[in-house]
């Protein structure tokens, strides 16, 4: 170990520190990807509202079972309440990333977040 450390020169430590810091900084910045900018609310597959994720507000959508309430806050959105029996879309909680989606199937309502480019919903190799 000591023999290996002796191979490092002062500048090497500097480069390693800068590299490590760069990698550390890149994690939160890039891991989250783009930011979500728009909540797209659909009923029966047709868009009923496109709400910018800038100011807090609540939005009601009426479906066959009753009202689904969408709650918007800066940078995130959720289904606050839904008349569906199993509450999957409510339990999903806050959506923050582009292309994430909460579907309230019984009430025919979906809430999806869109970023600047919404063309892909998955990538595979």
């Amino acid at each position: 170990m000591k023999a290996w450390l002796a191979l490092l020169r002062p500048g090497d430590w500097l480069v390693m520190a800068v590299g490590l810091a760069g990698v550390g900084v890149s994690f939160p910045l890039l891991w989250h990807g783009g930011t979500a900018e728009l909540a797209v609310v659909k009923r029966d597959g047709t868009v009923v509202a496109e709400l910018p994720l800038t100011a807090p507000r609540r939005f009601d959508v009426s479906g066959p079972l009753g009202n689904t309430v969408i709650e918007i806050q800066p940078g995130r959105a959720r289904v606050a309440s839904d008349p569906g029996p199993r509450q999957y879309c409510v339990l999903q909680g806050w959506l923050t990333r582009p292309n994430s989606i909460a579907i309230c199937a019984p009430n025919h309502v979906s809430l999806a977040l869109a970023g600047r480019e919404g063309s892909h919903d998955s990538l595979s190799y």
Binding site: W4, L7, L8, R9, P10, G11, D12, L14, V15, M16, G19, L20, G22, V23, S26, F27, L30, W31, G33, G34, E117, S119, H120, L123, Y125
Partner: protein, 188 residues
């Protein structure tokens, strides 16, 4: 390598005079480049046999050879060795002109460009580990850019950047230490 066309031998017959002989003079540098490139190709092939958790994350052991050549014989020979390794290595692994070939070529070219600048750093302060790290980051940056521009035209690929950068950090340091060790033990 230098090619020279020798004049027809003076004592030769008529038909000899019509065919000039092309002689390839092999210099010591040529032999050196060939030897280093062969070592790098062996490492490339050995590495291709290793399973990788994520496409693109590889130790890049052949870069040790590039570093040693750069350190001992300068940037020009390092370029030769690296490009020969990319070409012959891809031919042997069966990746020639496949996406993997262009990825390693782009990575190699960008890291050579960075090494051309890094070679000016004072050696007293910056050893092979610095060069190795800079080359590793350049390598991964080049590959990510090519992937973004060509293979996966979506910013989603940059989500993987931290993973690649971490791999570059770890393998850059390890390869640099190995190169430094080899250089230290074989001082000439």
């Amino acid at each position: 390598m230098t090619a020279s066309v020798t004049k027809p031998r003076p004592g030769g017959g008529e038909d000899n005079a019509a065919a000039p002989v092309i002689e390839l003079t092999v210099t010591a540098a040529d032999r050196r480049v060939a030897r280093y490139a062969a070592a790098a190709i062996v490492l490339t092939i050995a590495e291709a046999a290793l399973p990788s958790p994520l496409p693109g994350v590889k130790p890049g052991l052949a870069n040790i050879v590039t570093l040693i050549v750069l350190w001992r014989h300068g940037w020009r020979e390092a370029v030769w060795v690296t490009l020969l390794r990319v070409l012959a290595g891809s031919l042997l692994v069966g990746q020639f002109l496949a996406p993997g070939f262009f990825l390693s070529l782009t990575g190699a070219l960008l890291s050579l460009a960075v090494l051309a600048l890094a070679a000016w750093l004072p050696r007293r302060a910056f050893g092979p580990v610095s060069l190795s790290l800079l080359a590793a980051f350049a390598h991964i940056a080049g590959q990510l850019l090519l992937v973004r521009l060509w293979l996966v035209p979506h910013d989603g690929v940059f989500h993987l950047a931290p993973v690649f950068a971490s791999a570059a950090l770890v393998f850059g340091i390890v390869n640099g230490l190995i190169a430094a060790k080899i250089l230290e033990e074989n001082k000439s």
